[in-house]
């Protein structure tokens, strides 16, 4: 739908593959950090307090 490549990744990891799990998590974390903060599909909450003028 237009998210950057690499932002979403799929892996097969069996429950017996603990070392692979650690490896995958580390790799993905590094890769995603390199991409920087996500800009797509982010919901911005409406600013309520700032817009209301108090009298």
């Amino acid at each position: 739908m237009g998210t950057e490549p690499g932002r979403l990744q799929f892996f097969w990891v069996s429950s017996a593959e603990s070392t692979k799990f650690v490896k995958v998590v580390t790799e993905v974390t590094h890769a995603i950090k390199a991409l920087g903060p996500n800009k797509t599909l982010v919901k911005t909450m409406p600013k309520v307090a700032e817009d209301v003028e108090l009298h």
Partner: protein, 315 residues
């Protein structure tokens, strides 16, 4: 297609008289032009209200879900494919329904016609492949093929795939159509272009859920958008929530959608929502060699597992 109606009435009357069915589901004239509405005929008098023309685009299979009685139903090619899907998904039993097949030559797109005129359209009639449109100061005749619903122009299953009675002779199927030209165009875009495309596509959505309600596949007792505990998706008009709704709904139709066009037809804003389901339809065809609703013999790709299922996206 106008000539079908006598045969439709004859079959319906016979089915009701012989008590083969308790009701026949078809169409009657709507209160506004180009909007024929579903009609549930339970007696010979009711049958007289039936109409058949190029405004019967609603998917009648939508009214079969979880019914218990014996029902006769008119089915165009797409409706019949959804009936097959309904039977596969245990939403209706095959021996409960008498399918009156209606070979279809395409339905007209009211959005296209409405967009052609500034004034309100008061009457639309058709004859010999021509559509006549009348309104305040408007009296115009156009070719039906120019105002067909887009899914009808690329349809390759005009004839019902399953039927007990036929309202007319089978029509010639279209071959040599490029179904996925628009999908490929989007697939070729860069991620930011894609993001912008969908942002633009869905920008007018008012979250009325007409697309969902018109869809015969959307029969969940509680839809994920209505669920509040847990709340899967925000209920606001935020573009993120709108996008989540449309993409998730499309995914729920993967391997099931027959591209009947009911969603797009129902949309009051004229959003081309089919582009999302078409992508999944294309994937199912290319990856699993699957076209939904063609046979009762095979299980759909999403409820079967094969060791050779394509999984190139998983590392």
């Amino acid at each position: 297609m106008l000539s079908y109606i006598d045969k439709i009435k004859e079959i319906s009357t016979r089915l009701l008289k012989e008590c083969q069915v308790e009701m026949v589901i078809g169409f009657r004239k709507g209160t506004v032009p180009m909007m024929n509405e579903p009609h549930f005929a339970k007696s010979a008098e009711d049958v007289q209200k039936f109409v058949w023309d190029s405004n019967c685009g609603i998917n009648l299979c939508n009214y079969l879900t979880n019914r218990r009685e014996k029902i006769g139903i008119l089915a165009k090619g797409c409706d019949s494919r959804n009936i097959v899907t309904h039977i596969i998904e245990n939403k209706i039993k095959r021996d409960q329904i008498v399918i009156i097949g209606v070979p279809c030559k395409g339905m007209i797109d009211r959005h296209k016609i409405e967009a052609m005129f500034d004034t309100e359209i008061e009457a639309v009639s058709e004859a010999d492949g021509q559509i006549n449109i009348k309104g305040d100061g408007v009296d115009k005749t156009i070719d039906k093929k120019d105002v067909l619903q887009q899914n009808c122009t690329i349809c390759t299953h005009r004839n019902p795939v399953i039927y007990d009675e036929l309202a007319a002779d089978l029509v010639q199927e279209q071959t040599d159509v490029d179904k996925y030209e628009d999908v490929r165009r989007i697939e070729d875009m860069t991620p930011p272009e894609k993001w912008g495309y969908f942002e633009d596509l869905l920008s007018t959505c008012i979250r009325c859920y007409a697309c969902r309600n018109a869809c015969p596949l959307c029969y969940c007792p509680t839809c994920f958008v209505d669920e509040s505990q847990p709340q899967w998706v925000g209920k606001s008009q935020d573009p993120t929530d709108i996008r989540t709704f449309h993409f998730l709904r499309a995914y729920h139709c993967a391997g099931r959608c027959t591209d009947c066009g009911a969603c797009e037809r129902a949309c009051p804003m004229g959003i081309k929502v089919r582009i999302l389901t078409k992508k999944l339809e294309k994937d199912c065809f290319e990856l699993f060699d699957w076209e939904s609703g063609l046979t009762l013999e095979k299980r759909p790709p999403l409820d079967t597992y094969r060791p050779d299922d394509p999984d190139g996206f998983i590392k």
